[in-house]
Symmetry: D2
Subunit: 334 residues, 4 copies
């Protein structure tokens, strides 16, 4: 196994999917050990570091990449298997930012109201106990939530000559902000340009479903992933596979459209895997799919559809890619 190491300098951060030259070239089968900075570009270090003061638009949500994958071309599917995603610091920061988040007006849900207060909550991350610790500001209350590290942002260069801000999710992936993007999972993306040009960032030590305040518990990450390539298979929207679930992610507004996109894609996937027509697959989704909200704060919203693999006959998706990469990951961890 070739192991590629990459820790970008701040000057090497990228701010878009598409429109940036490759940082590294990799091959299918390569392992990448990389580091990602947090969504604040590392500038929120204390409760006094308000985003609107220490960060400068558009230098938000820096990505590590892009990685050029040898042989990847439009019409293929890129598979990224997350071997491990581990916080690289002991403190994570969640913030409110004026006119950003699900429970405030924002630049699209425009109102005449004042912004909510701008605040920073620092969470202690205990990597042994796997906890993140919250401290209330208005009362003497300390809470521990389970640590559940994930990448909010993973994606490839978009189609149609576009370069999209890393703050936005769409069919190319990007700022999906689903807590399902955790270690042990394989993420699939349709390749739009030669080399796929994938990047990732925006680590969260955890987040609630919907990412209501606009951020998770944001932290730099040390991440190990394995690159796979499935030639000649289209993937219209981002998909995920774990040992237990098949998952699709829809990105759209309003939120019901994100739900629809995720479910229609799941129906297509199930129909293909199990030789069903769409109405039969619709019925499986209607009675058996979970549909957690992913985020309701970015310019485009996301919803995840999840099907328990144990409900279905064993039919390897993507020619068995997940099992194969899982096995490779196991060797790596041995």
């Amino acid at each position: 196994m070739t192991i590629v190491e990459y820790r970008p300098e701040p000057s090497e951060f990228v701010w878009t999917f598409g429109g940036a030259p490759p940082a590294r070239k990799v091959k299918p089968g390569d392992v990448i050990r990389l580091w990602t900075e947090d969504c604040y570009a590392g500038k929120v270090r204390s409760e006094q570091d308000l985003v609107s003061q220490v960060c400068e638009f558009p230098f938000l949500n820096p990505q590590t990449g892009p990685f050029y994958v040898d042989g990847a071309k439009p019409g293929d599917t890129l598979a990224l298997h997350f071997v491990s995603i581990e916080p690289a610091r002991d403190i994570g920061a969640a913030t409110t930012v004026p006119f950003f988040g699900a429970l405030t007006s924002d630049h699209h849900t425009a109102t005449l109201q004042e912004a909510l207060p701008e605040l920073v909550w620092l969470y202690e991350l205990d990597r042994q106990r796997r906890t993140v610790t919250y401290h209330a500001k208005s009362a003497d209350l300390t809470l521990e939530f389970p640590m559940d590290p994930m990448h909010g942002t993973v994606g490839v260069a978009p189609a149609a000559f576009e370069a999209r801000s890393a703050l936005v999710p769409d069919s190319h992936g990007g700022n999906l902000d689903t807590p399902e993007m955790r270690a042990g999972v394989t993420a699939y993306f349709g390749v739009n340009v030669e080399g796929a040009l994938f990047s990732l960032g925006d680590g969260h030590a955890r987040q609630g479903e919907g990412e209501a305040c606009g951020t998770g518990v944001e932290v730099a990450m040390n991440t190990v992933l394995i690159v796979g390539l499935i030639p000649g298979m289209l993937t219209p929207w981002p998909r995920l596979e774990s040992d237990t679930h098949l998952m699709t992610v829809g990105a759209a507004r309003p939120l019901e459209n994100a739900y629809r996109v995720a479910q229609v894609d799941m129906i297509g996937w199930l129909a293909d895997l199990h030789g069903l027509d769409h109405m039969d697959a619709y019925q499986i989704v209607a009675q058996a799919a979970l549909a957690p909200v992913a985020q309701v704060c970015n310019p485009i919203y996301t919803v995840t559809s999840k099907i328990d693999k144990s409900y279905l006959p064993a039919r390897p998706a993507y020619r068995g890619t997940h099992a194969e990469l899982r096995e490779q990951a196991a060797q790596l961890l041995r």
Copy 2:
């Protein structure tokens, strides 16, 4: 404990929340053993029984009730604790109905396209093994899903002199269609009229999140519930409590508004229970709340917010109503 038994005749079905005279009078603390017909008014018995042919609008989603609760008045909260919800038949029916469901145009998301095929899937319900069995029509595929019985529709008479169709959810409850409305759960509703006038129906042997095709595995139910009343406590939107979770249900369109309503209500609830300001409670919701979609098919959509009670200090909600009713339920089951 007074036990009230009620099995409505078809002529006694009610089709609205509000606008119907009480079927029975009950007192706080009473146990009700009732039966609810399925959403098809029992008319879908075979795969040939297409809803558009055997059912007649508006005679859909019959409710059992309303129950007049002695002493309930506007400003109080009604608590309904579900002791048991058990399918009353061995077969459940899921259907597609022209221009109804999440993945078709409908009367509001109006398009010029043809309707999807109208179909009936019959599921065998095994009450011992706790499974519901699906048969594909287009392939030789049989799947077993876990049985997880619930009521899609529970609510009280609405405010403002309204009578609302039982097909619609709103702040009075109604057709919420959240799979969280299962046995072991206490549901809270704000009382809008004297006697509260609650009804329920629309049993599902299970449903996926979002109820994508427009129905769950619909079946008549034998249900036992205990009535509680919390005087002088307002409940703005339906709330649920289980042994493990606090839950709120938002009902609105577009779906992001249902999410917002559920989360803002959860924030108010947490702030009250734990003496927090709204920004601190917002942060807890942002990092710790789950947000499964409930349904995306009714005239108003629903999203549930869930907080794990183990994350929080023990503070009994609604003056300990859930624990009390749970204890009463335990006696009943003994």
Copy 3:
């Protein structure tokens, strides 16, 4: 011509469509001279009269009616021709109300922000010069806008045993808040219950498209209308006809669904009138329909579709009802 006069006492106001007994019985062809109170039930008389202090929910938007129309039955269409709509006072009031309006969060678009300031603007109405006069509060600025009187709320009893708040529009009409509901126009509504049971109210001396602040220039109205009945013709959504335009009104959320409903209904109407298939009628709508937003503040939003009758061959809609009622109105005004 029978002329029915009706000026309700405050105790006779109705607050819902459906669920109220008839105030008067009328026959097709009857003229009704009626008076409607303003949406504040007449309680906002000075800039100190804040809605949240002087009005009491749900006693908002009082309706005059309902009128029982002899012979009207489900499947028929009710036609209401507005002969005149004239302000009954010299002052109209526009207000902001906490968490109500298009440019604030509200009970459905729920956020954690503070409400906007609650204010009253009084407009002088000059019925000779046909102007309404605005005075800014924050600057020395006085503006005159054209008077354009209309009824925000007109409708019939809804289907499915419902009673709907007069604050809500839907397929039965209700709080449509389209400025097209002015004198000279015939409004068509599908009849859902025997007698149709129509009501009206919510006069505006004028309003902007969208009714952004939540109110128009609200004022009591003296209105003369003629009642028509078209037996055996269905009207799925409210329609309007003037001498120059055919109009449909869609009511739904999100706003694109209100647009869709209005356009699909217009397509059906044009297809019927001109013997076209839906694709050809779609094309006419696509290139020739106007689509002004009606309101973005009520629990359900509305959009109007308008087609210039001069673009189309003369084919009388609804068997020539508009021309006939227009002629009857002309006699009345002679």
Copy 4:
């Protein structure tokens, strides 16, 4: 006056805003005589030329440009005054495209339904009589609509290092598809990058409000415009000014957000021009703004807000730019 002529070859078409090198350099005050190809890249010439067969994604909606404006820098406003917009052919084509348009499911409003029929309607354009002529396919019906030429797509390079498909509108302009973008109008755009890099295309001989079928009467255009630059003035969203109206365009989903953005921007504009606070300007908008839907078919929807300038005291917007460019245009036409 410098007059710049530019007629791109097909190989010079650009498909994005941002991400393309300048085609020409111009100076403020320059007149540009340019030609734009239609949205089909000229490939739909007969009723047999179905878009899905003759066009190839993403080679749709070719733009003429970009033009680099000397001295334009972020923080400035670019003004484009349309002297004339004239169809360059005698035939315009409107089409339906599978899963594109307001009255069909699409890639975001995803359903399982079949696509609508794919059709082409050819319109004869009479540049003397100023008419466009429609022929029904399903009946013997020919209609004449007024010719009202416009550009569907005008914009500058976006911020945040993005390159956006010419099919998408947003705060940089792009595929706004408002019929208000006609000759005699000055369009204002905030400059995001050095040189502004504006492009335009997508001529329509006319379109209905909402562009329901997904296209207007599409045609190549000969267009004359004058370039203006207002240094040091921000323009957050596209604005338009005619001799009679101030206009803003909001771009967002759902459609109510496009409405909100347009109205909030209008409020800011009026408040600045007339020294009002936002509540007073809100009131003017609420009672006096028109709000026609622009389009409901692109990935992001648009709504226009319009205020009649005659309602307001004369205060030149943008330091009198419109009047100045209008005067320059008059000289040109003399």
